[in-house]
Point group: C2
Chain length 146, copies 2
């Protein structure tokens, strides 16, 4: 398990992949984002996207899972603080998502025993086109002094 | 169902409430954000928050569901574009969340038949303290011309 002291700006973490079916999209959205564009096949087909698109929340959840598996599970996390996200293109059934995260900077706060980690990440589709850009900062522990 | 033409800056929408149990927190996080602070009772008790806290993603999903029920389900939505979020305090088991959203401005785009809606919202806890602030913009349809 890594502390802030073990990480450096510029380090990159490549995500695994995640494929979403139409049923996955509908199931997630029925619970958390039940809009016709996400859950109603006929209405979505006649709508602005010509078919069902994933809830942005669902896409963000997949990003978080990929990021946990590629990065966070190895780090002493305290919690997220802020993030800023721009959706670039819709996610449709059958698409396989992946992406990468890069440490932009680390603000060490020895007086608090922690640090603020600034990450910039992209979620990408099968054609390596950007689904969304996200910049996030989170608090992580510094290595306890001896 | 409302179009951009039916909405005005300054309109406010008050959310219903949502109570999360420890099991809800663990179940969501096991799938989407499986970090010890969200899923491991013993590790979380010994950790920086003194107990399990909800994944920010889970909190955001609850916000989205409350916002859909209070607002989006009545509007011709095309899709989200950007959002910016600041977590203010952790969410713990048993807390009841609510909040409100306000239309900050509407950018009408008659040449595209749609508009960009800028919303500012807060998710709040039992004591009416802010859990997070969020500013988001999304595309919605304008009323089709006769």
């Amino acid at each position: 398990m890594l502390y802030a002291d073990d990480l450096s700006p510029g380090q990159e973490f490549v995500f695994g992949t995640w494929t979403m079916t139409q049923q996955d999209i509908i199931d997630y959205a029925r619970q958390w984002d039940p809009l016709p564009i996400h859950i109603d096949i006929a209405a979505a087909a006649a709508g602005p996207h010509g078919g069902i698109i994933a809830s942005g929340l669902h896409t963000l959840a997949i990003y978080q899972r990929l990021l946990v598996d590629a990065f966070w599970k190895n780090v002493h996390a305290v919690g997220g603080r802020n993030f800023q996200l721009s959706f670039k293109r819709p996610v449709r059934p059958g698409m396989t998502l992946s992406g990468h995260a890069r440490i932009d900077r680390i603000e060490h706060r020895p007086e608090r025993g922690n640090a603020v980690l600034y990450l910039v990440s992209q979620l990408t589709d099968d054609n390596n086109q950007v689904v969304f850009d996200i910049a996030a900062d989170a608090v992580i522990l510094r290595r306890p002094s001896a």
